[in-house]
Symmetry: C2
């Protein structure tokens, strides 16, 4: 799919809040500016990193589905994207990634030291902006969520090469590292629209389910996606020893032979095509399909959560967003 | 000086707020706890990192000098120490440091990945706690200050091996990376004691001056301190190409021969004793003494800032703190 096709596909999903999402991007660029010339150059680079802005879109879509998109929502959408950007900057340092979204990563361009500090700066700037909103809710929810994200990533890092990982613990980890920020984005969209508590709760369930599905699909794409479609290096989970859902299905469905084979592939050294070897095993046993089936269950939960929202174009887009997350190939 | 002597020396400085500082330490340990077992182990390790707690002491001393130490101050003191701790965790990753305060660094113990994420987690936790205070002031001031610290560190990182660095830019950098957190600690001590605006301003000036002096002395100790007294590896600035005030004095006072010699020493490879070679040059030209004279000027500014505070044991301790920062050998 060409970048233009992707752009069109995404624009359809966010039509009811397209204007606000553009305002959010302008805001983001302004807030990422710094009085310091050195920082300005480094940050401008990170800003080219901008992706699908799904988290920002969720803040605004939920707000619109609750009947009220305010200037505070645009700010919150920008803050959420900044937090996501900071996690990406640090992830790329830790993975030694050189390219993301076809742009050199900050660590590749400025070195690890500047990249770690840049991530810290973006986090701090995001919190700083949140403290200028009228209520403390946004600051509180997003600081807690950021701690949750880091907790999930620490757990994941410590669980590398742990072939005894359970599906339950895997789900807890992706809940923390990915779904928490989706849930928080949707919650804040509802809270700052003064929605009823029932809608706030439903918004959280929608966001969390969407986030879980998103991460499962991401983990599948890392194993069977096409690099030219996804736009980043794939197979990195295997290289780093991350045990994801398809691998867990393979281990659960296979016998001792499969277990030995998986461990052998993960621990293989040199230029051996680990992803290719794994793909053959995964295929044989239907582990990718089983993972997509899990993702689909979360998407159904996301759709079910839309109940309390009155019919509206924004609500329809939330439903379409859920479908998109499952079908995306990038 | 033995650890016991140090402890006594510091306890004298903080006598009026000793109880509150102990409460702050208890608070810190509680707040650093995590429901996640993996995170708990990693964080418990970082908590052994605890140092002189000068920033926490400043929050409490200023509050006491303003006539009112509240439970919010104890919280703020803990938050400030957490932010400082997070910067240390990341600094140690970036410097590849293996020991700090006689304890293995988190990166040495758990690897860089976990250590970067741990720093992020501590930052997020600190902000999260601040959002539970009644007013947004603490969250706002500390988020802005953290962005300032990171900005200063990014600038310093980009200025490595820049022998054209000016004293003015050096001062701007240490103002951001070190003095800003001292200034914020003192400001918050005054604000949460409902002090008059004149005292808040004076508290900021006191903290900022103290912080500048502290960093200049730190930069001197890195070049001429004793490792057994300071308790961490010294000479690291030279190894990393950081141009600090003594070097700037040496460059300013020396001629072309000294400039060539400094560049040669900084760029020397292998096991060459760079610090020893620099010490000879610095000694000859009185560059360390000149730097201490600068630090003394800032300390005088700190003492002058005490004017608006009424006489009190806490105010006397603030004055003693300033003297201590200049005379400390660790």
């Amino acid at each position: 799919m060409s970048p233009e096709q992707r752009e069109r596909e995404l624009r359809g999903l966010i039509a009811p809040i397209a204007e606000e999402l553009d305002a959010c991007s302008v805001d983001l660029t302004r807030e990422l500016d710094s009085a310091s010339e050195a920082v300005r150059e480094v940050v401008a680079h990170a800003n080219r990193y901008r992706g699908k802005r799904l988290r920002a879109a969720n803040v605004l879509l939920v707000a619109s589905a609750c009947g009220r998109v305010t200037p505070a929502h645009v700010k919150i959408a920008a803050i959420v994207e900044m937090i996501h950007m900071a996690t990406l900057v640090h992830d790329d340092v830790l993975d030694g990634a050189e390219v993301r979204r076809r742009v050199a990563t900050p660590n590749a361009r400025f070195g690890n030291e500047v990249a770690v500090l840049l991530g810290d700066w973006i986090y701090a700037r995001a919190f700083s902006i949140s403290t200028k909103l009228e209520s403390q809710t946004c600051s509180r929810v997003l600081a807690e969520t950021t701690a949750t994200i880091c907790r999930g990533e620490i757990e994941q890092s410590l669980a590398k090469y742990d072939f005894g990982l359970t599906v339950e613990r895997y789900l807890e980890m992706i809940d923390a590292k990915t779904a928490a920020l989706y849930a928080a984005s949707c919650e804040l969209g509802a809270r700052y629209a003064d929605a009823r508590e029932e809608c706030v709760r439903a918004a959280r369930v929608f966001g969390r389910s969407l986030g879980l599905a998103f991460q499962i699909v991401d983990d599948c794409l890392d194993l069977d996606g096409s690099e030219s479609e996804v736009g980043k290096s794939l197979g990195t989970d295997v290289v780093e020893g991350k045990i994801t859902l398809p691998i867990l299905h393979l281990l659960a469905r296979g016998g001792p032979r499969e277990r030995r084979r998986v461990e052998e592939i993960f621990r293989a050294e040199g230029s051996f095509d680990r992803v290719g070897a794994l793909a053959a095993e995964l295929d044989l046993i239907g582990a990718i399909e089983a993972s997509y089936a899990d993702a689909e269950r979360y998407l159904r939960a996301a759709l079910d959560a839309l109940g309390p929202f009155p019919p509206s174009p924004a609500r329809d887009c939330m439903a379409a967003m859920a479908e998109y997350v499952l079908c995306r190939r990038w």
